[in-house]
Amino acid sequence: MKSKSKIFFQGASDISPLLIPVVPFGIIFGVIGIELGFSPLLTYAMSFIICGGASQIVLLQLVSGGASSLVALTSVSVVNSRHFLYGAVVSEYLDDLNLYWKSILSYLLYDQSFAVSYQYFKKNSNNINRHYHLLGSGITLWFIWQISTLLGIFLGAIIPDELGLSFAIPLTFLSLLVQDFKKLDHVFVMLVSGLTAVIFYTIPFKAYIILAATIGLLASLILSIFKKRKI
């Protein structure tokens, strides 16, 4: 049986290729935070306390646009709801752990660490130290995210506003969808959600993300019924 540290470092090395897009994402977040007028400390604190790129950018975007905390937090919840899907697949491999381990690993369960460690769990389901893989991949990602945010905060003070780097926000989210560009049903949901957001952008309380996501999910629900009937 492989030692705990060996599994930890395998997790760290397995996640490495996925870290390449994380670095510019973190830098962009730091730069935008400063450009939108948040203090360096508050911008960094988001990366430490929330540690989720999409949640952090939605929060920055809405709060700087004048949304209330309630709307900003509801929008963050909507963005986070994708996490529930992972639970269905990853929990069976972490079931035997005590609450202490589960608490720590929860802080380290990101899209990327989930992806690589789930692959490892599937292949090593009888290894009782398998959770060290997620510890390794998660800590590595956490560390890179902190460093790149700090770098962005530093650069945010230097980079001129004229570069229009805030355009990197929609581009970053666009890049998270590239895997689904070739699926027509997904593209349909994207268009429904996006157009709803544009049409209803000026509704009160900046609730457009909540509304558009809800309508997008309703479209998904209808598609899922259709999908089942086809099979």
Binding site: P21, P24, L42, M46, I49, I50, C51, S55, L59, Q61, S69, A72, L73, V76, V79, S81, R82, H83, F84, L85, Y86, G87, A88, S91, E92, L94, L105, S106, Y107, L109, G164, F167, A168, P170, L171, F173, L174, S175, L177, V178, D180, F181, H186, V189, L191, V192, S193, G194, A197, V198, Y201, T202, Y208, I209, A212, A213, G216, A219, S220, S224
Partner: protein, 104 residues
Amino acid sequence: MWSTVFLAGLITYFTRFSMIAFVKKDMLSEKTRIVLSYVPSAVFPAIIFPLVFLDVNETLEIVGNSKIIAAIVAILFGFFSRNVLITIFSGLISYWVLIFLLKY
């Protein structure tokens, strides 16, 4: 603002924790899983579209909007490469070319 950040952190942590601690394999029905798999496609465009199509005055800007052209370039590069970095930088570079070189 600090309390909002802490609450957002709690919400994010809770969704991660609950999936390890409470969500079990057979808890989510097949249909729920299918719908959840659409969450990114249902949520992210709600953030993307207004930032691309609306101008600073929050009104629709189609003609002379360099962000739309740059976003289309990014979508094309993303479609063919399926690469996150290429998508971001093709969009950003074409945006800079449009606004600085072509003064579009």
